[in-house]
């Protein structure tokens, strides 16, 4: 009997690890394929080229902007969701699930329609900031895609900081705001940094909403993903491969940093 049980366990374990190996092999094949379309020296020259330089810096900067805006709004919003119960909280949380599930291209279309037909939207676009087919549109598109996700992840982070710390801080003489700034936020520091990087990485790769709202104009609204798209459309596979590898490298660095942050825990 016992050996039969052992057998079952070992077959089960083999299946587990086979699946793991399968997915690993799949991604290794996918990730190494661009190498066959380009040479190492091309990578260097591409990095030095005007177009890649422009796309990379535009991506990094717009992603940083949209992440910063998401955090500025998301940290207070997530804290409110984490700490308070209020009427309609489930509705709010449900609404925040929608932007995460809707395809970015649909989000982009809705944004475009907002600026085209909605009186408030067209007023903003005409008089305040031009978003349609302009750089601010990239930031807005990225914000639309990442903000809800940022808030959801930040809520998890704040949920992990017991409210007791704030309670004690209040009794020590700290106001609600001071308790948040001096106790909760430092306790959630690693978590918030992790969310920042994940949001930034997601914004960096944003394509669907960006191309719909900001368009794909070379040297104007050309972020890294849009550069890949433009080169692919032009049939320049070597450039496409190079840009993909650059993306891969950026993701690797982000992941390593996030892992470093998370391995040391959310520091609770």
């Amino acid at each position: 009997m016992r050996s039969l049980d052992d057998m079952k366990v070992s077959v089960f374990r083999i299946v587990l690890f086979l699946c793991l190996a399968l997915i690993l092999a799949f991604f290794i094949c996918v990730f190494t394929s661009p190498v066959m379309f380009t040479q190492p020296w091309r990578l260097v020259s591409a990095l030095l080229s005007d177009e890649v330089g422009f796309a990379l810096s535009l991506s990094v900067i717009t992603a940083a902007c949209s992440t910063a805006i998401s955090l500025a709004i998301g940290i207070p919003a997530a804290y409110a969701l984490s700490r308070f119960d209020f009427r309609g909280k489930t509705v709010v949380e449900g609404l925040l699930d929608i932007p995460v599930a809707v395809p970015p291209i649909a989000l982009g279309v809705m944004l475009l329609m907002f600026f085209a037909r909605n009186p408030l939207g067209s007023l903003i676009n005409e008089r305040v900031i031009r978003f349609v087919f302009e750089v601010p549109g990239i930031i807005l598109a990225q914000f639309a895609v990442i903000s809800a996700l940022t808030i959801k992840m930040l809520k998890e982070v704040f949920d992990g900081v017991p409210p007791r710390y704030e309670k004690v801080a209040r009794t020590l003489g700290y106001t609600e705001l001071e308790s948040f700034l001096y106790v909760t936020l430092p306790a959630a520091k690693r978590g918030v940094l992790g969310v920042t990087l994940l949001s930034w990485a997601r914004a960096l790769g944003e394509f669907g909403a960006t191309i719909t709202l900001a368009g794909a104009t070379r040297f104007k609204t050309e972020t890294l993903p849009i550069a890949i798209y433009l080169n692919l459309a032009a049939g320049d596979l070597e450039s496409v491969a190079t840009l993909s590898i650059i993306f891969l490298l950026v993701s690797c660095v982000t992941q390593v940093v996030i892992r470093k942050l998370l391995y040391r825990g959310f520091a609770l």
């Binding site: 017991p162 007791r164 004690v168 801080a169 209040r170 009794t171 020590l172 003489g173 106001t175 430092p186």
Partner: protein, 363 residues
């Protein structure tokens, strides 16, 4: 001095109902009761962390009922100490000290010495043992020079073997605290030993209500309700008054008739009562005569029973004795038992002095 009057509060589906307590300067008021009876909610109301529906909280003559927690100057040590993570002990204490008024660095050093945490100042809080955390948390709470100190189950995070030592340590710490600060301490616990070892007064809570408040010895001597008697581990029996006179009363307890010295201020028509007998007052003897001379002159109930179980706890022998259909707990010192032997199954005589039979009205 802190006075809480007629406090009502709601927390989810839980209610605090008409809670009134007084905590005197330089003394410890134990807030006692089973888990979920509202101890933490009461402490949080006092600290201002929990909204109250009505009632008032007055500290040293100042009504703080409507003040936010940061304006109340109440030292609060929650159940798991809640030391701020990612900080050293020093930083934790300085967080409090920064907001204190009228505290000098010398005062702070005295607190640190008092709690014997001088050596821990540069340690990160994650690396401390539970006992060290407890002392750091108390130091942090004292560093604001509080007007009241609240301790929520400060010993519950400790392992049982170290608990007893900490219980004693806690008593010493509080003595020192009182020497330095003449403030009231509210100490929540569900541990009877802790309450008797540390407390000056005790407030017993059940289901959001205060069941009884008073000096520890008084509450132990005169439990005023069935809940209090049961919580204190006493024998609690339902009884029917058979006859009552100025001389005393006869009460039928499950077929066993007990004499009590009187029904006190009972209305005459009360028939259903609760009889409370402390286990220490259930004296066992091999004969009809009490085993010790000093009990001979008292009016005494002598019942014959059979020992069911014996457990020995330290120098105390706990015996369950069956008298008819009634089961009685008896605590006897092992010294007393050296005179004769009791074993499960053996027949004994149970002596209960009539003056020790407490009779309460049935709620």
């Amino acid at each position: 001095m802190m006075v809480v009057s007629n406090l009502y509060a709601k927390r989810g589906t839980f209610f605090l109902k008409n809670v009134s307590i007084e905590a005197k300067d330089g003394s410890t008021l134990m807030i006692m009761g089973p888990n979920g009876c509202g101890k933490t909610t009461l402490l949080e109301c006092v600290a201002g962390l929990q909204e109250i529906d009505s009632g008032s909280i007055v500290i040293d003559g100042v009504d703080v009922t409507n003040l936010p927690p940061e304006k109340r100057r109440i030292g609060y040590v929650p159940e798991d100490y809640a030391l701020f993570p990612n900080m050293t002990v020093q930083k934790n204490i300085l967080m409090a000290f920064k907001k204190s008024r009228g505290m000098g660095l010398d005062d702070l050093r005295r607190i640190i010495r008092l709690l014997q945490i001088d050596d821990l100042m540069y340690r990160r809080v994650e690396s401390l043992s539970s006992g060290q955390k407890q002392r750091v948390a108390i130091a942090r709470a004292l560093a604001i020079r509080p007007s009241v100190l609240l301790l929520d189950e400060p010993c519950s995070a400790l392992d049982p073997p170290t608990r007893e030592a900490f219980r004693r340590g806690m008593g010493d710490i509080l003595k020192e605290v009182f020497r330095e600060f003449d403030i009231p301490v509210l100490y929540a616990t569900h541990d009877l030993l802790e309450a008797t070892a540390i407390g000056d007064e005790i407030a017993l809570m059940s289901n959001g209500r205060i069941e009884q408040v008073g000096p520890v010895s008084e509450v132990f001597e005169n439990p005023r309700s069935r809940f209090v008697a049961e919580f204190l581990g006493f024998n609690v029996l339902d009884g029917k008054v058979l006859s009552a006179s100025a001389m005393g009363a006869s009460i039928d307890v499950g077929g066993v008739v007990l004499r009590a010295e009187g029904l006190g201020a009972f209305p005459e028509d009360v028939k259903d009562v609760v009889v409370v007998i402390k286990p220490q007052d259930v004296i066992l003897s091999p004969t009809r005569e009490p085993f010790e001379l000093k009990w001979r002159s008292c009016q005494c109930n002598v019942l014959s029973g059979v020992v069911k179980h014996i457990h020995i706890e330290g120098s105390m022998v706990k015996a369950d004795v069956e008298v008819g259909d009634v089961s009685l707990k008896s605590y006897v010192s092992s010294e007393y038992l050296e005179g004769f032997e009791i074993k499960p199954g053996c027949k004994v005589f149970v002596h209960i002095r009539a003056s020790k039979v407490i009779v309460l009205p049935k709620a």
